[in-house]
């Protein structure tokens, strides 16, 4: 495969995978939703879960995006230093998004700031958003696709606390935000929390927390325990599907952290809706792919 063929193959895979992400929820999210559905016993909660699963079935049958808000497209790229297209990924992803917008079809969700014009192809200033991590000596790339919908982006917030507010301040911030704004963001939610020393690091980590598979835990035992306590606590609030009350509130709570400044505790919060369109793909140097989030998917 020459360089141009590699490029075209990469664009093709990523365009199709982006479309795929809008149609099929990842394996872990689906099985968590099935578990949560079983816990509900009120008529209203059952009606909502029935609608959700019927809708997912229709997405499969009709080959259409399961939610009309296919979001602003974000790619979280972990690129090996020896991946052949390392210098061209950004350009290729911009092309992939434009192709995906037509194939999907995806909703036009890139509005230029100040000009206030929708670009009509989901590509705009710094959009698709690309986050980079470098993997030394690897010749592969792992790409997380996230469709950042408007509804589930609205509860997002970040704040720098004074240290004496402690981790208690973090817990309070998360609960206040979820019970006031989370209820409109299509619960059951996935809650991502970032804790760090400054606001942008905490915010970014809160989004990265949403990319972790359900059932994974924070790498620090205290962090893992706090995830469990907040998850149980939020579930005890009983927000239910669609915020219409029920037995549960969240699909999970994930925390990611960076060492903080002695004088600050920054906390960031991101939420994912029940239609959590987050996918992961691995592409090798010879442009073979493996869909990690959706086992066995054929693009």
């Amino acid at each position: 495969m020459d360089r141009e063929e590699q490029r075209q193959r990469f664009i093709d895979i990523m365009a199709k995978f982006t479309v795929y992400t809008g149609r099929y929820l990842p394996d872990d999210v689906l099985s968590r939703l099935e578990e949560l559905r079983e816990t509900e016993n009120s008529d209203l909660a059952k009606i909502i879960y029935d609608a959700m699963f019927e809708n997912l079935k229709m997405a499969e049958e009709l080959n259409r995006p399961c939610c009309q808000d296919t979001g602003v497209i974000q790619y979280f790229v972990q690129v090996g230093t020896k991946f052949p297209l390392i210098g061209e990924i950004e350009e290729c992803l911009r092309e992939a998004v434009q192709k995906a917008t037509v194939i999907g079809p995806l909703r036009h969700n890139a509005v230029e700031v100040f000009d206030e014009k929708n670009t009509g192809n989901n590509v705009g200033t710094r959009i698709p958003w690309i986050d980079w991590e470098i993997i030394p000596d690897s010749d592969e790339v792992i790409i997380y696709v996230y469709m950042a919908g408007g509804g589930c982006s609205l509860p997002g917030a970040a704040k720098v606390l004074m240290p004496l507010e402690g981790y208690e301040g973090v817990v309070k911030f998360v609960f206040d935000q979820i019970t006031s704004y989370g209820i409109n963001a299509c619960p059951p939610l996935l809650v991502g929390i970032g804790i760090a020393g400054s606001v942008e690091v905490a915010a970014k980590l809160s989004k990265k927390a949403l990319l972790r598979p359900l059932g994974s835990h924070n790498n620090n035992p205290r962090g893992a325990e706090l995830e469990k306590r907040i998850e149980k606590g939020l579930n005890d609030v009983k927000i239910g599907p669609g915020g219409l009350t029920g037995e549960n509130s969240v699909m999970g709570v994930h925390i990611e952290q960076a060492a903080r400044h002695p004088a600050t505790i920054a906390v960031g919060l991101s939420t994912g809706c029940w239609a959590h369109r987050r996918s992961v793909i691995k592409i090798s140097a010879d442009m073979e792919y493996e869909t990690i989030s959706h086992k066995g998917a054929i693009l």
């Binding site: 008529d43 209203l44 009606i47 909502i48 609608a51 959700m52 019927e54 809708n55 229709m58 997405a59 259409r64 995006p65 399961c66 939610c67 009309q68 808000d69 296919t70 999907g104 079809p105 909703r107 036009h108 969700n109 509005v111 014009k117 929708n118 009509g120 408007g150 509804g151 609205l154 240290p163 004496l164 402690g166 981790y167 208690e168 817990v171 609960f175 206040d176 019970t179 006031s180 209820i183 409109n184 963001a185 299509c186 205290r222 325990e225 706090l226 306590r229 907040i230 606590g233 005890d236 609030v237 009983k238 927000i239 599907p241 669609g242 915020g243 219409l244 009350t245 809706c273 029940w274």
Partner: protein
């Protein structure tokens, strides 16, 4: 819990007996109106290109596709509700000026909308969030589009729908607000839960 079908044009008496938590279905005209449409009418005082009196609006930004060989004709691909609270700022005025009777969206709305609904005999309802294909399936025809210069999500899409629902009444004509009631309940549970977690997070040395 009552279950009924409502047809446009909608009359006051179609809505007066409904209470929060009821489930209804809609037949007739449903027109998408979200942030920019509210902004144009209320803040910029532009005349709406669609008469909404007696009709229903949908807080939604759809994916529409132009039908091949029929320029200006569209089919709906995917259309689900968007967060209604974003329109709270202008909804009371919007109801007063348009005579719209049913607002369909997602999540709750606030005091302004409650007042508008009470004064003008209108209701706010929610369609299950994220269920955009269920909703698309209830659309018989996309009759026309106005203000397409706002872009696909913000334009006014005029649709005829059949058995559109389930629509859960969240604000009725009597001043009741389902989500505010729920929120009060959630917040009353929250305090004790947060307090119970705090002793376990005393990590500072």
């Amino acid at each position: 819990m009552s279950l009924k079908v409502i047809n446009t044009p909608i009359k006051d008496e179609d809505l007066e007996s409904l209470v929060i938590g009821d489930i209804i279905y809609l037949n007739g005209y449903l027109v998408t109106s979200r942030d920019d449409v509210h902004q144009r009418l209320i803040k910029q005082h532009k005349a709406l290109p669609v008469d909404l009196a007696g009709k229903a609006i949908f807080h939604a930004g759809p994916i529409m596709q132009e039908i091949e060989g029929q320029p200006g004709r569209y089919r709906v691909i995917s259309i689900g509700p968007t967060t209604s609270m974003r329109m709270e700022k202008y909804e009371k005025e919007f109801i007063a000026q348009t005579g719209v009777k049913i607002i369909v969206g997602k999540g709750g709305m606030g005091l302004n909308t409650v007042a508008g609904c009470q004064e003008h005999k209108a209701i706010h309802t929610v369609f299950p969030g994220g269920c955009a294909l269920l909703a698309a399936n209830c659309v018989e025809e996309v009759e026309r589009v106005e203000w397409l210069d706002l872009g696909m999500p913000e334009a006014m899409w005029v649709m005829r729908v059949k058995q559109f629902g389930p629509l859960i009444v969240s604000i009725d004509t009597k001043g009741n607000n389902l989500f505010e009631n729920n929120k009060r309940e959630f917040n009353s549970r929250k305090e004790a839960i947060v307090e119970a977690i705090c002793p376990y997070v005393d990590f500072l040395e």
